[in-house]
Amino acid sequence: KEEKQRLRKEKKQQKKNKEKNDEKTSHEGEKKKNKKKKEEQPAVPAPAPPPPAAAAVPVPASEAPAPADKPAKSKADLKAERRARQEAERASKGKKGDVGQPAPTGKLKAPPSELQPVVKRLPEHVQVDNPEVVKKLAKKLERQQIPLRSDYGYKVSLFSHLHQYSRKAPLTQQLGIPSTVIHPAIVRLGLQYSQGIVAGSNARSVALLHAFQQVIRDYTTPPNEELSRDLVNKLKPYISFLNQCRPLSASMGNAIKYIKKEISNIPSQCKEEEAKIKLLNCIERYINEKIVLAAKAIAKYSIEKISDGDVILFPPNCSFNAFEKKRKFRVIVVDSRPRLEGREALRRLVQKGISCTYVLISAVSYILPEVSKVFLGAHALLANGYVMSRVGTSQIALVAKAFNVPVLVCCETYKFCERVQTDSFVSNELDDPDDLIVTRKGKTQLEHWQKVPSLGLLNLVYDVTPPDFVDLVITDLGMIPCTSVPVVLRVKNVDQ
């Protein structure tokens, strides 16, 4: 299906170009074919307009021919962008030299970043062990005047393609103190992300939108620019900065997409004040609809599923607020090191008067016979029905399946994401390895872990749970099975 779409687009493009210039078309077609062939020869014919890797676009031509993991949309958007740039370059008649396309490694698409002005895409797969990609990222950050955060410590080889930062080396070390390049609200947000003060995907999205509100309030359009285009360009370095502080989550990515769409939809004759007010209202509405009301809807549906006398298992990142005491149930909170987020969840539940038990994840198989339902929270729901959540969630789901305990996932629709992943290795987040160091009875065994050459500390943040282990997904749209996620996504796209 994806191949067909691609071919269709290509034909359309060729037809369009034929109207303009026959000669160029053939070149174009030839070049396109070259690209498609996943060039064994990196040399592209010189008179042809240069491939789009001119600026800092990392390795787009490493379009993997293996479309299995690739969502169709990205390819189409890439083509559109390439076409647009080629028209522009043809107009300016700039003939730059061919940039030798470095042959991609076994990994798939590189962080796309600069490709579309409207839609911001998250880096599908970060390629930290590919030096060209790292160089391109560094160049891009330099252009945006954002410092590059350096990796810390030895990385376990299976995850060496991901970034690993240290909390003790914040990005603000390299920024000037009254930050002029980056809006102070964004600097504050980045700090709060990297120190873990704002954690959890809902909180991060809300904080992000709040910071964007402040940015929009303080924004003034420069004289010869249009708000719809300039504001989007202003937001790009902020997003890179936030990405450097802590990799963006799927929910944040969707929020950013929404905002960028709203900004670029502002008609050019709209006055600046009106436009700003409109944008601020959009953000308020988004938060209200997608987060606050969605949480209420989920709570309403979940209550229907809980019967009296139930025992429920909760790993901590479930947005479970507003549980009224209509039913009598008790809760078991499962927690895991090093974040120990369950303590906060426990506090909130006990405050509401629900009787709770607290266990660590190693006790899950011991406690599961007592449990009647398992509620999981999700960080994101992927397009193939996999649930991406805190590390340890898939374990709980697995054990619950073994004990025949129903597993319900609570997730707002704005966290649905078009990415597809079948394992937890390809795209994940590595947290500070020093978090694993603990001092007991005055002794810190791992204090000098860096000196031991064969020792690596791994602090994973996310993992994916296959849909076979999940019985029901409770969203603000209702209760759907895991495999209906692509349907929801399709409906959402049609709406937008």
Binding site: P178, I197, A199, A207, H210, V292, R347
Partner: protein, 454 residues
């Protein structure tokens, strides 16, 4: 804009009268640069482009003529205040309230430090704090101070600083002078922070990040005149005050008018309460982070006013407000500065022995057979033959005749040391003349006009 820097340079240097009766404290040379150059350099290095300098007219005049101050590339907005010394630091802030548009970073002119400023400012940003300050472990001054008789009194006024377990949140601050019998800590504080570390050996660097609301609060509360003495303890106490309940205040919007009539205290509390917007509140609710654990309250115990402190344990941090600190700072100035120790325009003869720790200023003339070790020599100073200078600070325009032996002294500007004089641990005031063949030990030699001042 995120932060505005304010440099307080109107202080009188009341603890070192011998040095400051002629030269105002901000212009005393440390490492051959005026004292206020050092904090300005710190701000410039970090990335500030503008600084508001609060100082006196005398200092402003001296600033405009001093060549070293022209090195400062930032834009200095000098605000002059009266010299009568009644204006405290908080009064000065109130004076410039109109210029303050965002949060302020207040620095004192006598601070010499190499702290990584982002540590303090990060605390301020990340926790949305009302106050963030810098403190450092106090170093003992090892050098003998000229003119000091006997051991240094250790019964000086100590500061008691209470921090929480993480060492960042400031819970308690009091000076020994304010405490009568003992230290009393409110139960409400102990309930919220059962583990408190109380430290006494800390030096307050007088570097504060304050929210704009605090400056507005000062404008309304004219009774507070010193930042360190009054404002800071007030803010620290207010963190745990029962009346800082902002959500309640929103409901009482109608009653606000009554409250303002009732007393300015209520409205000022409303002002100082960092009112978090509802979205931030929402984000905090959804976030699974708490700054403490073990009790049922939310992050920060729901308090909106937060004070943080960054305590440096490594690195330099000096406040040059006593003679001993001044000497120590000069000693270490060569480490701080990146310029070459010997100024290129100084004329130094070849037979002179100069130690690596010494700094020689511009247009100096050092003759043969002199030995200069661990000393700082100011601009336009003439040192004749056979002079031995060790462990001393010699300011600008001094003439030292032949054969002198100067050890551990502080010699102020334009003094003349006669031939063959032998000075140990002395302080020679401005423009003084030491007669030839004089032998002085541990004395303060100042003019008679200064003796009249009290």
């Amino acid at each position: 804009m995120e932060l505005q820097a304010v440099l307080m340079a109107a202080g009188g240097g009341s603890r070192m009268p011998d040095l400051t009766y002629n030269t105002p404290k901000p212009m005393l040379p440390v490492g051959n640069k005026p004292l206020m150059w050092h904090p300005l350099n710190l701000l410039e290095r970090v990335g500030f482009e503008e600084v508001i300098v609060i100082t006196t007219k005398e200092v402003q005049k001296m600033m405009s003529t001093d060549p070293k101050m022209k090195d400062v590339k930032m834009k200095l907005d000098v605000v002059c205040i009266q010299e009568d010394g009644d204006m405290g630091t908080a009064d000065a802030l109130r004076h410039i309230q109109q210029k303050i548009k965002t949060d302020v970073l207040v620095v004192s002119c006598d601070l010499i430090t190499d702290v990584a400023l982002h540590e303090v400012v990060d605390l301020f940003r990340a926790h949305n704090a009302t106050l963030a300050m810098l403190m450092s472990k106090a170093h003992d001054f090892t050098e003998t101070v000229p003119g000091q008789k006997g051991k240094k009194k250790t019964g000086e006024q100590r500061d008691f600083v209470g921090v929480d377990q993480s060492g960042k949140r400031l819970l308690f601050m009091a000076n020994e002078a304010d405490l009568e019998d003992g230290l009393s800590i409110r139960k409400s504080i102990m309930r919220k922070h059962p583990r408190m570390h109380i430290k006494t050996g800390l030096v307050d660097a007088h570097l504060y990040c304050l929210k704009k609301a605090v400056v507005d609060f000062l404008a309304d509360n004219k009774s507070i005149s010193s930042i360190r003495g009054e404002l800071l303890p007030y803010l620290v106490r207010k963190q745990f005050s029962k009346t800082t309940n902002c959500p309640k205040s929103k409901d009482d919007a109608d009653d606000q008018t009554q409250k303002t009539a009732d007393g300015s205290t209520n409205s000022t509390e409303l002002l100082i309460c960092s009112r978090d917007e509802p979205l931030l509140q929402l984000a905090q609710e959804r976030s699974c982070w708490n700054d403490h654990r073990g009790d049922m309250s939310e992050a920060y115990h729901g308090g909106k006013l937060r004070c943080y402190v960054h305590i440096m344990d490594q690195g330099l941090c000096y406040r040059v407000n006593t003679l001993a600190a001044y000497i120590e700072a000069n000693r270490l100035a060569s480490k701080l500065l990146e310029e070459p120790a010997v100024h290129p325009s100084a004329v130094i003869s070849e037979r002179c022995q100069m130690g690596p720790d010494s700094i020689i200023g511009a247009q100096c003339q050092v003759a043969d057979k002199t030995s200069i070790k661990r000393s700082t020599i100011g601009n336009s100073t003439t040192v004749k033959e056979k002079v031995k200078v060790t462990n001393s600070i010699i300011m600008h325009g001094v003439t030292i005749e032949e054969g002198c032996n100067i050890h551990g002294c502080v010699i102020c500007s334009n003094a003349v040391i006669g031939r063959g004089a032998d000075l140990k641990y002395c302080l020679v005031g401005n423009g003084q003349q030491i007669e030839a063949e004089a032998e002085r030990t541990n004395e303060v030699i100042v003019g008679t006009d200064q003796l009249m001042e009290i």
